[in-house]
């Protein structure tokens, strides 16, 4: 089975790039390909200007990843988990950096607690702390706010936006929350059945599809597999 086919895109430095599409569209597979978890059968992947096949470790040292579907060990404390990953990423001055990221996501008071005892919102923020430990140049975020309540999700979005502005971190972002994508992402790529359907800024894509919102477009793509007139009118551009 081919999960992703003929996909080609470029993400500029400091950009938040949304990878969107219905379940099974190939978003997660694309991120796995970019992280070297899955090897492509054909084609070339370059991250940070480097060929992934030949420079995987160097690239991973400068990137990080967080997913709503991946957890840190529940039987270690928050600080122990961050200590382990700080060592894995050779983070200098680990103690200071761990305190910084815990403060960044406002979970400094959980440092001594077992990870398994955290609420889902705290656990998600801990995943993000892990993702920011090595001050990454590229961040892969797979539905990072999926398990958060609206208040915490908003705080996370604000934090991510601030970090992106201040440090020009490039983010590859998947989410099913289209409102969040409209707020956060500079450009988006819609996937369907493993193929790129459309890409551009949210405004460009909405204009081209005549959809009123990304959510409307998302539903149209999920149902038709393509950018037909998202409003269902005749003669819409494709």
């Amino acid at each position: 089975m081919t999960a992703v086919d003929g996909l080609s895109f470029t993400v500029a430095r400091g950009e938040i790039f949304g990878l969107l599409g219905p379940n099974g569209a190939g978003k997660t597979t694309t991120i796995q390909l970019l992280l070297g978890l899955t090897s492509p059968t054909a084609g070339e992947i370059r991250v940070l200007g480097l060929d992934l096949a030949g420079h995987r470790r160097e690239i991973l040292q400068r990137c990080n990843f967080s997913s709503a579907y991946v957890s840190l060990p529940s039987n270690l404390t928050v600080r122990e988990n961050l200590e382990v990953f700080a060592r894995l990423y050779a983070v200098p001055d680990r103690r200071r950096r761990i305190a910084e990221v815990l403060d960044l996501f406002e979970i400094g008071d959980t440092a001594k607690r077992l990870t398994g005892a955290l609420s889902s919102g705290q656990a998600t923020r801990l995943n993000l702390c892990k993702a920011f430990l090595n001050d990454p140049e590229v961040l892969f975020l797979d539905e990072p706010t999926a398990s958060l309540d609206p208040d915490i999700a908003e705080k996370v979005r604000v934090t991510l936006s601030r970090i992106q502005r201040e440090r020009a971190v490039t983010m590859l972002y998947t989410s099913h929350n289209m409102r969040e994508v409209e707020i956060l992402c500079d450009r988006v790529l819609f996937l369907s059945r493993g193929r790129a359907v459309t890409q551009g800024t949210p405004a460009e894509i909405l204009a081209a599809s005549r959809a009123e919102s990304l959510e409307q477009l998302f539903i149209a793509i999920a149902r038709d597999g393509d950018v037909r007139d998202a409003r269902g009118d005749e003669g819409a551009p494709r």
Partner: protein, 261 residues
């Protein structure tokens, strides 16, 4: 490189600090084994069975070294699969070889801690002093550790490929090897057709050598040389199998599915 190995070793040791199940793996189960075999040995001695039954205690201690060594590798990786942490590890800059070294080092620590405890208890309860072998003990233990690593790598490769369906191998593979490696009886007890299979296993030579030494024989250099030569073959095969399987797992996208089944 050593920083990343230390990081993963630390991750596993943190777990031992507060996991009763892990501590039981090092202390409780091996001690229970020793007690069962120890009391059986005492009974057989009283029943006027010849002295060599004491070798059973040595076999229990040696077997645990191999078992701990293999299981530390497989269980450590599986723990990260169960906890959905394995992808965090695989997308970090750690090399797979570094991960294997960290888990092997854990196996070494675990096996030595367990062996030290069992040796102490065997001396206290049954007057069996395996430590009297002194430095001669080192090559026996080293050979069992190496074989444990090879078996651990092969089993882990299968777990990475087949996920939860292969997890029974963590406990199953060592016990598949146990009857063939003649841990508790000489190879001569096995049917003739099975002996070549037994002699192709490094642990068999270690157990045979241990019985010779405890029986007052000369240091079994030839047997240990055979064990180490076989270990080289098994470690090379284990590493190659692991690397090949990991490549396949990456190509098929199975790695990303681990822990998400």
């Amino acid at each position: 490189m050593t920083g990343r190995i230390a990081a993963m070793l630390l991750r596993y040791l943190y777990l031992y600090r507060r996991s009763a199940a892990r501590v039981m793996g090092v202390v409780f189960w091996p001690v229970m084994d020793l007690l069962v075999w120890g009391f059986l040995t005492s009974y057989l001695e009283k029943a006027a069975v010849p002295q060599p039954v004491l070798f059973l205690l040595g076999a229990v201690i040696f077997w645990d070294v191999f078992y701990s060594s293999a299981q530390a590798i497989t269980l450590s990786i599986t723990e990260d699969i169960w906890g959905r942490n394995i992808l965090n590890v695989f997308v970090s800059p750690i090399r797979v070889s570094e991960l294997m070294i960290a888990t092997s080092a854990l196996g070494c620590l675990r096996a030595l801690a367990s062996a030290a405890l069992l040796s102490l208890l065997a001396a206290l309860f049954y007057g069996f002093r395996i430590a009297s072998l002194g430095l001669a003990l080192a090559p026996f233990l080293a050979s069992l550790l190496l074989f444990g690593w090879a078996v651990g790598m092969m089993t882990t490769a299968l777990i990475l490929r087949y996920g939860q369906a292969a997890e029974a191998l963590i406990w199953g593979v060592p016990f598949l090897i146990q009857p063939l490696s003649a841990a508790f009886y000489p190879v001569a007890v096995l049917p003739a057709w099975l002996r070549p299979v037994a002699l192709a296993i490094p642990a068999t030579h270690v157990f045979e050598g241990m019985r010779e030494v405890l029986g007052g024989g000369a240091f079994p250099a030839a047997r240990l040389a055979a064990a180490f030569a076989l270990n080289v073959v098994y470690l090379a095969a284990g590493s190659a199998f692991f690397a090949w399987m990991l490549g396949r797992v990456r190509a098929k996208g199975y790695l990303a599915r681990l822990g998400l089944e």
